[in-house]
Each structure stands twice: as C-alpha cells, then as structure tokens.
Symmetry: C2
Subunit: 359 residues, 2 copies
C-alpha cells in the first residue's frame, strides 16, 4: 500500500525516524551517537523504528559538516592513481603513511589526476583534513593548488627552496657524496650520472645552465654532492655526462644509449634513483656488459626491489617508511607550524659496485 511518494527511493533521514518514533531530532541523534544518555526504553523504541524503516544510520555527509573533521588524510600526486600501487618508492612510503593512519584510525584518500584541470578540481574537492604531496613532476603546481585549500600539508621528496611549506626530505648532498666517494675509492675515474628532473618535462643531457635554473633542488643537491666529492679526487666533473630522465623505463634507456654512444664509456654510473639503477643493470646486461665487473652502479632510495636484483643494488637508502610515518603524523597532529625535516641516509653496499676494471 505504498503511496506514490513513498515509491521514490528518497533515503530516510534521521528526522524521519524522530518523527515516526515521536521524539525530537536531538534525542534521535543521541540514540545513535551517544546512546548511553538516552533512556533505555526510548532508545530501543527509536532503534526499532529505525530498523523497521530501513534507516542506514546517521549519514556521514551530514555529520561531517557539523563535526568539521573528516578523519582522513589526502595523498596527492600528479601521476595517475596507479602510481601508488606500482612505484616501489611510493609503495614503501605509503606503507609508512598507512602505519601512522592505522594507529589513529584515520583513512587515506588518494588524489591524483594526470591532466591539470582535473587535478585542480580533485585537490579542491578532496574531503580530507590535510595533504601529503608526492612532488614528482609538476610539483610546484601541486603545491600552489594545495596551498589554496589552506589545509595542513607536507611536501615529500624533491622539495623546493620554498621555506614556507612544510617538507620532509633527506640529506641529498651527504647521500650523493657517499655514493661518489665509494666509487672513487674503488678507483673509478670515468663516471656518468642518470639524473632525476631539474624541471618538468625535460629529458636529455644536462647543461650547467639547466643546473643553475633548477626547479627541483633535490636533484640539484644530489648532483652537487656527486661533483663535490669527485672533485676531491681530482676528477674533472665538467666532463661527466649527466642525463636527465623521467625516472621511467623509456627515457632511462634513452639516456644509457646516449651515454654509451659517446667515446670513453663510463666505468661507473651514479643513478639518482633505484628505479633508474635497476633499469641500467638490465640494460647493461642486455648489452653484454657485466655489473660490477665492467660497470659499477650506485642507486638512490633503498627500495626493497634493489635487494632482489642480480646483482643486488648498492644504494643510498632513505628511511622511506619513517618519512611516510612522520609525514602522516605531521598532518594528524598538526599544530599550525611549518616544519622542515631532513632525515639522514644510510649507505647500503651490495653487489652492484666493485673495483674499476684494469685498463
């Protein structure tokens, strides 16, 4: 005998229950959110009515507006969403973030968009209490967009010089020096660098001009670290080819092709990410070059995959999980302050480096 109006599936609201049970909204609300202060008899009656009418429970949309807090943190990137599940570095980072969120019962909202317009919209409309930004490409744009939300946020990884934004990074210079020193001490004298981006949408050999106008100071610092240390060994860093990739398969292979196409191929490669280093190992093997007998490689990051490659990768390990944990906590217990943390790195010697080949 449903009336025509009942026919439409207009969802039941708390007010409907209140009316049907003959209590005020206030009481009906209490039945669900603070049952202990409602008299047992009333409580049961209201619950029964709710049950019978098929009430779905207080709608979080309504609750949210009143409460103000979403209890979720947004993790944003300009890469497609699958980046979070594919990229080894991102995965370890997310594990750290997950841990901190699990501990406080907060949720995680993944925000991304390859195209700029959607990115803006997604950042503007994400229901979160704060953001953690993976600043890979398009980092500064992502930061600007996020800043407009006026919510707490932390930038991860290759930060910018901008001191007004909270960020967690690693000591890039120190890490890079460690890697370079290790190779130099093994007697290597001919180097090549597989570099991360200095600015968006660039690949190819890097000129001093590019370095000078770097947007991504993390990249710049790592390169500076390499060069400082190598200079100390009397190596002419001006001659070292530095190839900027997009940290994926295609441009990294292109970089290797380009580097080895020149005379005097390197005996040691400094890669600014494990991802590139692993691709390089693969590429060298296919080229018939032995690692580390013909060419030594040091990565950067310390992702788990590095331990599993053949040979296992020597690398500069960042405390990725810990960075993730801290970033999440920065948002979760945000106090309005801008915090910039620099974490130490750890040098992990594995099998991809060895003495320079005898000439």
């Amino acid at each position: 005998m449903a009336s025509l109006l009942e026919g439409q599936a207009r969802p039941i609201r708390l007010a409907d229950i209140a009316r049907a049970a003959g209590v005020s909204h206030g009481t009906a609300s209490n039945v669900f959110s603070r049952p202990e202060i409602v008299r047992a008899e009333v409580r049961e009656r209201v619950k029964a009515v709710a049950e019978q009418m098929g009430y779905a429970g207080p709608d979080p949309k309504g609750r949210l507006l009143r409460a103000g807090k979403v209890n979720a943190i947004g993790v944003a990137t300009t890469e497609p969403l699958s980046y979070f599940f594919d990229d080894p570095f991102a995965r370890v980072m997310m594990a750290g973030i997950s841990e901190a969120c699990d501990a406080t019962g907060a949720g995680i909202a993944l925000v991304s968009a390859a195209n700029q317009e959607k990115l803006a919209w997604n950042v503007q409309s994400a229901l979160v209490d704060g953001f953690i930004l993976f600043c890979i490409e398009g980092g500064s744009r992502l930061v600007d967009l996020t800043r407009e939300r006026r919510l707490p946020f932390v930038a991860l990884e290759l930060g910018f010089q901008d001191e007004t934004v909270s960020a967690i990074g690693v000591d890039n210079v120190a890490g890079a020096r460690l890697a370079a020193r290790h190779l130099a001490e093994f007697g290597h004298r001919r180097f090549a660098v597989l570099s991360l981006g200095f600015a968006d949408n660039r690949t190819g050999f890097v000129t001093p001009e590019v370095v000078r106008s770097a947007v991504y100071t993390g990249t710049r610092d790592r390169l500076a670290g390499y060069f400082e240390e190598l200079s100390g060994f009397g190596i002419d860093t001006a001659k070292i080819p530095v190839y900027e990739t997009e940290n994926e398969e295609k441009s990294t292979r292109a970089g290797l092709e380009a580097i080895f196409a020149r005379g005097e191929p390197p005996t040691a490669i400094l890669a600014m990410s494990d991802r590139m280093a692993l691709i390089a190992i693969d590429w060298l093997r296919a080229r018939g070059l032995a690692v580390p007998d013909d060419v030594s490689i040091v990565g950067f990051d310390g992702v788990p995959d590095g331990a599993l490659s053949t040979p296992p990768l020597t690398t500069i390990a960042q405390p990725i999980t810990e960075i993730g944990r801290r970033a999440a906590r920065m948002i979760l217990d945000h106090d309005g302050a801008v915090r910039r943390e620099t974490m130490g790195v750890e040098f992990v010697v594995r099998g991809s480096t060895g003495p320079a080949p005898k000439v």
Copy 2:
C-alpha cells in the same frame, strides 16, 4: 589593527565574502561554481574580496551535503591499510580500480581496520559513493557492515554463497582442475594442498568436516576442483594432506613443515595462492629440495612476482586488473541491480612444474 575577533582563526565562509562584497550568498556561490553567469564586474569584485580575505574557496564539506555525491569509491578490507601496498594481489587489483577511477576522475578512499570496532566505525563514516570489498578474513562481517550503509558495493574474491550481494569472482573449480590436471599429466601421484581459509582464524590440516562447513566457498570450490580432477586420474584424494594457512609467511611455513613431517612427502604441491606458492619455493630451496626436479608447484592468482621468482611460477592466472576495473565500474555506474560475474582464468605454464621424479 586586527580586532580581537579577527584574531581567532575562524575560517572564512562564503557568506563572509558575500557580505564583504555586498552581494547575496547566491551570487557569491555562483562566482565560484558557475562564474559564467555572473556579470564580469561583479565577479571580479567578489574574487578580489575573496582573495584579500584569504578565502580558501568553497568548502567541499558544505558542497558535499548539498550535492549528495562524494565522487569517490571506498575500498575496504579487514587487513591493515598497508595491505593495499604490500600484497601483490591487492596491488594489481588496485591498479585496475585506479584505472577506472582515473578515467572518470573519481577518487579512492582506503578503508580498513584490524580491530572490529574501528572497522565498523570506519565503514559507517567513510565518505564514499560505494564500496569495493576485499573479502579475505572476516569477510561476512565486512559485508554485513557495508550492507547497513545501503550504498552500492561489490565483493571481490572468495565470495560467499549469498546471492543478494554483487560480486566478481573467477571460475575457481575450472582453474583448480587445470592446475591439478597439469600435475597429474606430469605423472605426479603424491600431492599436498596449501589451502586458503575455509573460515576465519583457522589454520592446520583440514578435515572433511571443515570443508563441509566452509564459509568461504571460493576455497571450497578450488579444493573441489583439485579433487575432482585428481580423482579422474585414479588418485585417492582422501589421503591428500590439505593445510589451511592465513596466506602469509608464518602459517604457510608451518604448513610445509607439517606436510613434510609426514611419511611419503608429496612430489607436487597445489597452492591456492601465488603468495603461498612463492613461500613454498623458498622453503623448499632452503630444505635442499629442487623445484621442479624434486617437487612441482602450481600457484593460483597470477601476480607479477610469480614471473620473477626462480624458478618462475606455473600458475592459474586470474584477470586481476580486469576484475578491479569492472568492480570500480560497477560502483561508478551503479544502477541498483545486483550483479554477479564470474571471470575465466588462464593457465600459465612456467618453470615450477615438471615431470614427477623417477622413484
């Protein structure tokens, strides 16, 4: 010269802007959400005021309540949040879900909680338009909880018999038969099964009673598939040890210990997940047993890691990414119908299986 009241950081609302700019809140709203219908002059004035007062843009919390749609789908599990980034099966699934979400610009909210109370709260308060459920452990509870939200949802993987819930799964029986036949044709006669759970929080050898009262029909079906096929080869399936694990390292190793502690060790292992199969390969190598020369192993799932192990894993591959895509689309273009889809599996022969050892 800020007044005392301005001192407190009460966030600026659209209504504040409207008042300051001398327009109605309706117009102020239009300036942000439908700028084209506002006269240019007014629009700029309002924008200027907003800029100057430090307005963060329309708060999605408010917008949401009005709009009703969150534009995000929730992915829920009873495992900790890091499961989404650690588990290979989950990762591939998430990649599929990501793809579908990226295509429509929807976001992903990760929902989880190891403890039951928090799980309930998290499911009840997640701001999403629908759920995709990873029903591993505690699946039925998760389904019940989600059902109460009265939002569209899809259950993945080991489903239940419950025909009233939408679900996407694979043809477990057919897949299992394929695996069993392959091994039987290689001449194997002594088998062991590493099984997924039949019910929550159980591990150990499985009795016919356990199988009969199985909660997870997916597990039951795979076992049935194995047994049906092996029976066809005249093998007495009653003698086959079936060890139920929690699909992780510890209980899987315990299972292997238990299986190999009995007389007449198996020459072939049927694992209901690649994860267990890979752990088994590892365990066998440590035991000095060669795969596949001494023992053959077939997995189930078809996760990418399986291709990289030594030896690479022979397995029953599910179309994981496609399942993820479809699940996401089911939520995104939900039409109120209950849908149950069964996908086919693909048999991938790699290196972990070979002829039964000569006696």
